[in-house]
């Protein structure tokens, strides 16, 4: 992968990071209410994976999904608007931070029930067997979701019928507030899909280049001959499970220990050694910052839902 593409990935990851930082501030200052789960630290997975997908492919994520949506091209403006109860929000206020969907961008939604997106993603993949598309479906979930029956059922269903779906387990080492290592006996999560007959691989989820390569390979294989694959992407969460999580469970110094391995620092270092100067890197950050700031100020200028969408609050329960 050349520097240009790496720079593009860096920019995308920084935009997600800055978006999430802005969301943190908005939530903490009370500019909106509602449960919010930030993506800080895991950006390489969404950015790398989505870079390998085509427009017609389908992505299903979890409530920690702002980064996935942005990586699929959902504008930060419509996400800010969704959170801030403004008209023009991606779901006009019906999804909020944790349950929005953007089908126009091939983003078939966050899901606020742990593991519940996997069976639905499998259905999207099932449809591809009949609708003459070569659509690949990717479903992302956390390590905690591995302990949901829905995920095991979904993986077996996909394996049984050879469905074109990529399971991405983002292992950030915490199942909500509890270390995953305390909630499983077998620490290697790839052994479960393997037992179901699904090829599975552990990937360094902090390495955007490795993530993109892994997903690209899977996409090429799946498009030609179908059948699910599974990746356990090793990563870390740079903040609590939700905004406001006091993180009493987190050992002192743990977040600091991620300083050099988290995906943005890592890619900056890489680019640096590839000859991109500090000034150039700062320029990228400054531009990303401008993009996010502009999106936020534009969102704040949009009319509130009470002026418009409130009229339609009962609409779309049924067709």
């Amino acid at each position: 992968m050349g520097n240009d593409k790496r720079v593009e990935h860096l920019r995308d990851m920084i935009e997600i990071r800055l978006f999430e930082n802005a969301v943190f501030d908005l939530r903490v200052s009370g500019e909106y209410v509602g449960s919010t789960h930030l993506y800080n630290g895991q950006e390489a997975i969404a950015v790398g994976a989505c870079a390998a997908l085509g427009e017609g492919d389908a992505v299903f994520s979890t409530y920690r999904g702002h980064g996935w949506a942005m990586a699929r091209g959902v504008p930060a403006l419509s996400l800010f608007a969704e959170l801030l109860n403004r008209t023009g929000g991606i779901c006009e206020g019906r999804g909020g931070s944790a349950y929005f969907t953007a089908p126009d961008h091939g983003f078939f939604g966050e899901n606020s029930i742990v593991g519940a997106g996997a069976p639905i993603a499998v259905g999207a993949a099932l449809a591809a067997k009949y609708d003459d598309s070569d659509r690949v479906t990717l479903t992302a979930f956390g390590d905690g979701a591995m302990n949901q029956g829905a995920v095991t059922e979904a993986m077996n269903f996909a394996a049984t019928f050879d469905l074109p779906v990529i399971f991405v387990c983002e292992n950030n080492s915490y199942s909500e507030l509890t270390p995953i290592r305390d909630m499983v006996r077998e620490q290697d999560l790839t052994r479960r899909p393997e037992a179901l007959g699904i090829p599975a691989q552990k990937i360094d989820g902090n390495d955007v280049v490795a993530v993109e390569a892994a997903i690209s390979g899977a996409v090429a294989e799946i498009r030609s001959k179908s059948g699910p694959v599974f990746f356990e992407m090793m990563t870390q969460r740079l903040q609590g499970h939700y905004v406001g999580d006091p993180e009493h469970y987190r050992p002192k110094g743990e977040i600091e220990s991620y300083k050099d391995i988290e995906p943005i620092a890592r890619l900056r270092r890489e680019l640096n050694s590839n000859g991109i100067t500090d000034a150039e890197l700062e320029q990228i950050t400054a531009e990303a910052s401008k993009t996010i700031d502009r999106a936020l100020s534009q969102a704040k200028m949009l009319p509130g839902l009470e002026q418009t969408a409130v009229r339609d609050v009962r609409e779309h329960v049924y067709g």
């Binding site: 078939f108 099932l126 029956g149 829905a150 269903f157 067709g319």
Partner: protein, 328 residues
């Protein structure tokens, strides 16, 4: 083209499924044992042979099955998922309540999940507490889901067709006690009608009895016995519970001024309570109304014990007699 076919209840559903598969290539039909075995009750016999991989058997994984139905429907298919017993859907309620029901609303109308879940229930002998419940009220509590409970071959055919062409998730609750019932001539091939609607099963002037599910046969038997007690009952079968035919109900109750709801589900939290509540809220003047259902008891396995709990023609007549002669 409208044709006549002599079919029983199970055959009517088979005919409807065959038609959906034949005329709508978006249709796929899957569930436990529905393909090669032809369904545990034989309802899907011959469909796998005729339609190949569009009709297939699945692992015993209700969450994956309904989830796959939701996802396929979101992508434009018209999946029909069979859940062998409604009791078994309890392990997959997340996919019905938290997923299928929300797709349209949360996406602000950009997506929908036009999925049909075919299932059956039945308070029938030889079952047990996990195979004999009447659970429709759970589904009726959820905005975003449609529900019907056909009891005749024609109703079964028509409601399956309407469900298939409905753009929202529909749960069709059949009854295993009816599948092998007598053959009757039904119309097949007519343009599918919109979902909803009730059937006026008996016209009368003294009391409105609303019922659904196979207990309707007890209600009809009771209606036949009532003239000897001086009562002329009007009997409405609510084939569709969501959308419910409120107008038909109101029209009838305004005429009879008495209302009895009979359902096979137990009373507390049953849909009968909702019907009575609306009549009160809408300020429809009635001299008497009540509901009959199973008492709040777990379903016992023994038929001897089961019979003790189920409303019968006799108890329905007694309730009507009380409504008219003791309370008027």
């Amino acid at each position: 083209m409208v044709e006549q076919a002599g079919v029983n209840y199970g055959g009517a559903i088979n005919a409807a499924l065959r038609r959906c598969l034949a005329e709508d290539e978006r249709t796929i039909f899957f569930g436990e044992d529905v393909g090669k075995p032809g369904g545990v009750f034989g309802v899907s016999k011959g469909l796998h042979a005729e339609f190949g991989n569009r009709v297939f058997d699945t692992p015993i994984s209700e969450t994956a099955m309904i989830g796959a139905g939701v996802g396929a429907a979101m992508m434009g298919m018209r999946p029909v998922v069979e859940i062998m017993w409604l009791d078994f859907a309890m392990v997959a309620f997340d996919q019905i309540v938290n997923q299928a029901a929300n797709v349209r609303y949360v996406s602000n109308g950009k997506l929908s999940a036009p999925l049909t879940i075919r299932t059956q229930q039945g308070y029938l002998p030889g079952s047990c507490a996990q195979h004999a419940q009447n659970l429709e009220a759970f589904l009726l509590h959820v905005p975003g889901i449609r529900v019907c409970m056909p009891t005749t071959p024609q109703e079964a055919y028509d409601s399956m067709m309407s469900a298939h062409y409905c753009d929202d998730p529909v749960v069709v609750i059949e009854n295993r006690g009816l599948y092998a019932g007598p053959k009757t001539e039904i119309n097949i091939g007519a343009e599918p009608s919109e979902i909803g609607g009730s059937v006026l099963r008996r016209e009368g002037s003294d009391i409105t009895i609303v019922s659904w599910g196979p207990i309707i046969s007890e209600v009809l038997a009771a209606g036949d016995q009532m003239p000897s007690r001086g009562i002329d009952a009007e009997i409405i079968e609510a084939v569709w519970l969501n959308p419910f035919d409120w107008n038909g109900l109101i029209r009838s109750v305004k005429k009879t001024r008495r209302l009895l709801v009979v359902h096979e589900a137990n009373v507390t939290g049953g849909f009968g309570g909702e019907i009575l509540a609306r009549v009160v809220e809408w300020d429809i003047q009635v001299s008497h109304m009540r509901r009959l259902g199973l008492p709040d008891v777990v379903v016992p396995a023994s038929p001897v014990l089961m019979n003790e709990l189920r409303p019968s023609a006799e108890s329905i007549v007694a309730a009507a007699v009380e409504a008219i002669w003791c309370r008027s």
